[in-house]
Amino acid sequence: MANDSSRLRISAVNDVVRIDFVDRDILDEATIRQIGQDIQRKLEPMSAPKVLMCFTIVEHLSSAALGTLITVNSLVKKKGGTLRLAEIRPEILEVFYITKLNKHFSIDESAEAALKALA
């Protein structure tokens, strides 16, 4: 268990890196940049990482946050790993559909379903 950033809660579930956001809003550019850096630092030494990002309490996110998710996904893919997103509220999920990023990301309804898919 490690708190790599005050904006994220990062934990290990078997061989999966689980990342939970601790803020309801992911809007501020500086915070988003920090989140991206914290995740990259965590994943950098890993090979073929299995990553789960949970949006349980997230109520708002901006296009800048989407950009960071895309960057993280690219890093994970480059390392031969897998990223899954889970527990996204319907309003936020709509943002993924509008931007067609639902085609780019693997999205599960629950963390349990995502962990099962990553097993």
Binding site: S63, G67, T68, I70, V95, I98, K103, H104
Partner: protein
């Protein structure tokens, strides 16, 4: 129903300025009975509009300011965001939903504003954004 509520702010960049504008608009919309979907839509669109104006519009303008005017009544919420930059051609922004562009991290702000607002117009030369949210969109 309360009277039309109006606001005006000059933003120079700090995050607290954006949060203060968002909060004032949200309170006005709540007073006029806008629902949760409307508040979500306007918050997202304003976030993109104000950040774009500060970060991109005024990118080459030292000490640039963003002029933000808004009004909310029982039927609609109107927003005008003006930066001091040279403007841009919104039609020239690549479609972020094209398969070839899905992995590009940026360029989704304008399409999100268009998706969530009733009207979005960049006025010549592209440094004045006018947006409208109509309450009927709530229904």
């Amino acid at each position: 129903m309360p009277a039309r509520i109006e606001g005006h702010a000059i933003l120079r960049g700090p995050r607290a300025e954006i949060d203060a504008c968002q909060s004032a608009v949200e309170q006005a919309m709540a007073q006029h009975g806008y629902g949760r979907e409307a508040l979500f839509a306007v918050r997202l669109a304003l976030e993109e509009a104000l950040v774009n104006a500060i970060r991109h519009g005024n990118r080459h303008v030292p000490d640039g300011q963003v002029d933000f005017q808004w009004s909310v009544d029982g039927d609609e919420a109107r927003f005008d965001v003006r930066d001091q930059g040279e403007g841009f051609d919104p039609e020239a922004v690549p479609d972020p939903t094209d398969d070839d562009n899905l992995e590009i991290p940026s360029g989704r702000g304008i399409m999100l504003m268009k998706a969530y607002m009733s009207e979005v117009e960049y006025r010549d030369p592209g440094n004045h954004l006018a947006m409208v949210y109509r309450k009927s969109k709530d229904a």
